[in-house]
């Protein structure tokens, strides 16, 4: 018995205890936005689509400055030789029924579509998030806001667009107004639901016990959790707004004759579809590429902003 004890003593020694080592976190420092970009750029496909999107958006913004295209001026209107030319090295996308370069027309139209898509989405998002966040938090506001939602969400969009465009006159301002006047409530409703899901989590209770105001809680406890779902919403909203602009302009409710538009381009060129299909397919292809690339980049960004994908 004694011998064993002696042996044990020889075999074992006290290990030293390092307080710093026991608390130190060896993993590299985590930064939310750095991880977002790392995840986003990891996929080659995403980077490719991202470049396509940048080229399309960049072209739409820069090219019209150099071309100086104006829908009211058709310099070659009296020159029949310049009409309906097929795409070639001289005329990249060919020419249309009044002798304008389709290349100029399509980028000028895309520029207006993009402006409307982005501006309307930003306005909707700002109003929607601000209203939705408070709506989700306040039970008192919820009672009457839900009634407001029921009323506004049941207004037929097309009817509203028609009435407003006749009353206010067609134009970019009117179109953006039409896109925002009711759409924000859908964003607000979506945000309200998301806020309600995480409103009663324990860390919000803890913040309340520390005396944090509702506004600070929305800013620091709620919205950071919603970055990913907001990005998903944005990535759907920009392409859908662009499509809506095209649709309304096609019906003649969108932009005025003074402004270039992909929608009206399609509607003007449709009669020549049989003889000169490129007049129809070029604006449609540009629209499709623009919508799809914006959507994919948005979706990938939404995925990357979800911290569960960071590990």
């Amino acid at each position: 018995m004694m011998e064993e004890k002696i042996q044990e003593k020889e075999l074992f020694a006290f290990a030293s205890f390092d307080k710093y080592e026991s608390e130190h976190i060896a993993a590299p420092k985590y930064s939310y936005w750095k991880s977002v970009w790392r995840t986003f750029f990891k996929s080659k496909f995403t980077v490719g689509v991202g470049i396509l999107m940048l080229v399309l958006v960049g072209f739409s913004i820069i090219q019209p400055i150099f071309s100086g295209y104006d829908p009211l001026i058709a310099p070659n209107v009296n020159n029949p030789e310049m009409r309906f030319l097929q795409p070639s090295s001289d005329h990249l996308f060919g020419t249309d029924n009044v002798g304008n370069e389709v290349f100029d027309v399509v980028w000028a139209g895309a520029k207006n579509s993009i402006i409307i898509g982005f501006v309307a989405t930003i306005i909707n998002m700002i109003i929607g998030i601000a209203v939705g966040a408070v709506w989700g938090f306040s039970k008192k506001m919820d009672k009457w806001m839900i009634e407001v939602y029921n009323v506004i969400s049941n207004v037929p969009f097309l009817l509203l667009a028609m009435v407003l465009s006749y009353a206010m006159g067609a134009g970019m301002g009117t179109l953006i107004f039409v896109m925002c006047v009711t759409d924000w409530i859908f964003v607000a409703y979506f945000i309200r639901t998301q806020v309600m899901i995480i409103r009663d989590r324990e860390y919000n209770l803890a913040s309340r016990c520390l005396g944090t105001s509702t506004w600070t809680m929305i800013k620091n406890n709620i919205l950071p959790y919603l970055v990913s779902v907001i990005m998903t919403y944005v990535s759907r909203m920009i392409p859908s707004t662009i499509s809506y602009e095209v649709f309304l302009s096609y019906l003649g409710l969108g932009l005025s004759v003074k402004e270039a538009s992909l929608g009206r381009m399609v509607s003007v060129y449709t009669p020549y579809m049989n003889g000169y299909p490129h007049l129809f397919w070029i604006p449609v292809t540009v629209l499709a590429l623009l919508s799809i690339s914006l959507y994919i980049v948005g979706q990938k960004l939404a995925d990357a902003t979800d911290p569960r994908t960071h590990m």
Binding site: I25, T212, S213
Partner: protein, 321 residues
Amino acid sequence: MSNKGREVILSIKHVDVTFEQGHKKKLVAVKDANFDIYKGETFALVGESGSGKTTLGRAIMRINPCSAGEILFEGKRISGKIPKSEDRDVIRNIQMIFQDPAASLNERATIDYCVSEGLYNFHLYENEEDRTAKVDKALNDVGLLPEHKSRYPHEFSGGQRQRVGIARAMIMNPKFIVADEPISALDVSIRAQVLNLMNKLKAERNLTYLFIAHDLSVVRFIADRIAVIHHGEIVEIAESETLFEYPVHPYTISLLSAVPMPDPVVEKSRKHIVYDPSKLDQSGEERVMRELRPGHFIHCTNKEFEEYQEKIAQMEKERGL
């Protein structure tokens, strides 16, 4: 030990907490809770799941409103509607440690923000340097390192997270802390670490704890006085040693019989006593808190009171008192 002459910090007077369940249906979570907590002590509230112990803790934090009765802190009413300036004082003086350290920290905020949230809300710092110094000190007090400030909660272990939760409460310099099962979500190996930390901070800062728990063995280690709560009603209040030595109420006895002992011989012969409320006095007489011995209260009818008195006298005799 007499409690007379000791300063009462928190006093709960006939508090009811009820929850509405739809139309005309009510759930009474806490019934007629009535006790005082003295300055500098650790008062434990023990009961099974759903007994209303957390609800009572949250009523003190004013998360759940009281439907009857009132709560006094240092003699001032804090339940119901109170002026904004008093409200801010109460927030600073009463802080809470939460049960689940993973759920009670904001995952998208750095530890720096989590700990200084209270400082920001009350602007308890002179300048940025002062704030940093305070946060560093708070982290140091709970055994964390200043380098942790730029980290996010998910990078920490459970025990570390709970210590962040403690630092966040302590930085406000509160007088009273509601600890809602602070160790039940933790690994057994780090429970003692957190309990020792809480005891150390209590001694250093002259704090008072309301310690909510379901684990009696833990409560014995940390509490000065214990209240046993069952189905929203407090059935027995006594000093911890008295409660463990002379448990009188059948529910307390049943709870104590369920405490596991780290001794196989004792464990083998352990008999679990099931609490059966139907064996209590069924005369329909209203039960009230009665003082059995100084500082030892029991929730009973008159008839039961006599029985309990006999029981405790017999127990005292057995133990040669």
